[in-house]
Assembly symmetry: C2
């Protein structure tokens, strides 16, 4: 088992990319992942996107206050504006508190 996420705050970001500006998007996504990892209370990130442009990224935070601080980070807010202007057709943000967490790996 990796670190147990029970009690953490999960920020689920589901988005549809439209294919605009792929290089700009890739640079911004990498910069945001790196910046998030430096924030207080950051606990990890999982991200998948398929060939149609649909993606789910989940960032994990020590508590809701840390998730809100990241939402309100000025660099993060600026990139979010760019995402609405350019990269995304739609997105959804669902914030949830982890109640239990377990995993399995092939022995």
């Amino acid at each position: 088992m990796h670190d147990d996420r029970t009690g953490q705050t999960a920020v689920i970001f589901m988005s549809n990319r439209n294919g605009t500006d792929p290089a700009g998007y890739a640079a911004a996504a990498a910069a945001m992942e790196a910046l998030a990892a430096t924030q207080p209370g950051y606990r990890g990130i999982d991200s998948v996107r398929n060939e149609t442009g649909l993606g789910i990224t989940i960032s994990y935070w020590a508590d809701d206050a840390a998730a809100i601080a990241w939402r309100d980070d000025p660099d993060h807010a600026a990139i979010r504006e760019r995402g609405r202007a350019l990269w995304y057709d739609r997105y959804r943000v669902t914030v949830a508190r982890v109640e239990r967490d377990y995993d399995w790996a092939r022995p």
Copy 2:
């Protein structure tokens, strides 16, 4: 805004497929999505898998009791066993209660 998920239980299933038995996997995945949708308290499902086999599927439930009932459904449990025997190299299940939910779409 689609239905607001605040108060629902999110079951985050992150998995690595190993490429074994793709036809059997696809049939089982479709059957499980269809069966889940008939369960009491089912509220929706989002799913993405990329070309490396990493996937995130999130099912939403009216409350924790509905999520647990689905976990314990015998057909679901049987498929889970098949997944461990054949299709997955690892997976993680993270259950969380939704605190807030919002979305954006290009105007």
